[in-house]
């Protein structure tokens, strides 16, 4: 993914507009975590098929945009390619057919499909429940389900400064281009990029100093005001009631 698109993906702060936006971010985060944890334990065909169906249903309900979602699924498939190719060829068992003289085992193919379904169900569910809420809501939700406040605040502050450094980086790269720099595979390019990186580290350290002092000047003593959580409403309670039913159904399909 290009840098610009990444920076935009993180800063689309007012994106919490889909049909799922009515549900409290804490409930959505808890739902995603429990679903993904259970998903890691599923092996049987009916349970995995149901999990994938649930993921697709939630993704459609959340109105995930089609093309970016497909692109995201493709990116994950990149990691899986090796596994999917090697498993059917290396796991012993009765051969289904042979490919370039290598036997393709039924057991290996089954394992490959299990992984493919599990990974895609996970990516879809995480995209539907979490990617739509924006970073600041996510930070509050993290704290709301028991992650230490210092980590949630660090997350929030980091996201804030990614925008700043992305600008800085783009500016330095523009300046390099203006002087005729084109990145290639040679010593000069690597030296220039190394120096660029060193320069960014230096500037970030200087800015870190200024930020720390500015926060001190405004009375920061290492603690932020606590995150504000809204009370759970009817729709949240309904969601929190329905979600365990889904999890129990999946567990029943797997273990019964």
């Amino acid at each position: 993914m290009s840098g610009k698109a990444s920076a935009e993906a993180i800063f689309a702060e007012n994106r919490d507009v889909g049909p799922l936006a009515a549900i409290d971010p804490r409930a959505r985060l808890a739902a995603a975590l429990t679903f993904l944890a259970l998903l890691a334990m599923l092996h049987s065909a009916p349970a995995l098929a149901a999990a994938l169906a649930a993921s697709v249903a939630v993704a459609i309900y959340a109105r995930l945009p089609l093309l970016p979602t497909l692109r995201r699924l493709m990116a994950v498939e990149g990691f899986l390619v090796f596994l999917l190719v090697t498993l059917p060829l290396t796991i012993p068992g009765p051969a289904l057919f042979s490919l370039f003289g290598l036997p393709v085992s039924a057991e290996g193919l089954r394992r490959a499909i299990v992984i493919l379904v599990r990974v895609n169900a996970g990516v879809l569910m995480a995209a539907a429940l979490l990617s739509t809420m924006g970073t600041m809501r996510l930070a509050a939700a993290m704290n709301g389900i028991g992650i230490p406040a210092s980590l949630a605040h660090l997350f929030q502050l980091t996201v804030r400064y990614i925008a700043v450094f992305y600008e800085e980086y783009a500016r330095l790269r523009r300046a390099m281009r203006a002087r005729g720099f084109r990145a290639g595979s040679n010593r000069h390019s690597w030296r220039s990029l190394g120096h660029l990186l060193g320069m960014l580290v230096l500037r970030s350290a200087e800015r870190a100093e200024r930020v720390a002092w500015a926060m001190r000047a405004r009375g920061f003593t290492g603690r932020y005001p606590a995150f504000v959580q809204r009370p759970l409403e009817r729709i949240d309670r309904r969601f929190l009631l329905v979600w365990p039913l889904l999890l129990v159904a999946l567990a029943w399909l797997e273990f019964a």
Binding site: L87, V123, L151, L197, G198, V201, M215, T221
Partner: protein, 211 residues
Amino acid sequence: MAHIPDGILSIPVLAGGAVVTAVSLGIALKRLDEDSLPRVAVVAALFFVASLINVSIGPTSVHLLLSGLMGLVLGWAAVPAVFVGLVLQAIFFGFGGVTTLGVNTMNIALPGILWAFLFSPVIADATPRRAAFVGAAVAALSVASTAVMVALVLTLSDTAYTISARIVLISYGPLLVGEAVITGFACAFLARVSPEMLWARHRRGGKIAVS
């Protein structure tokens, strides 16, 4: 390739990684004081942006991991920095997973911290030339350790992954070279311009490192 998605690893491996990361996050967060929280956030943001830099190595190109440089500059604070970066990558770009956050943070952050700590006496008072070689060594060793840990985590999850794990191991080659070269030049630059970023008197690590 260091970003393992959800749904591949076994439960014991996931749990093990989560415990290791939780403990190291606990250690790192306990050492953050009121001044270092904003500092770490600012530098973590920089490393996130820097990992978007594309470096051409021969016919391929790689995105940097920068775990070695993070270990040198941030010390223990590299754990929350990597963790936050991985959360953003997993949730907003779909690289890596949510249940694998523990394993991935462990694989990327811990080698950088360990090697930076071991090499910190050598980089103190170093000439730019020596800083370059030490930085390159720390970066190369960190990437190599990460590659071995990723392969190990895959193999421990399921012995059927062994062949894939070996392919993954080889695929780290270009990244290792790129990291070593770029980190080397960056360390030479820092040693010349602002050596206190890499080392500080009376302690291990640099000016803003949490050690």
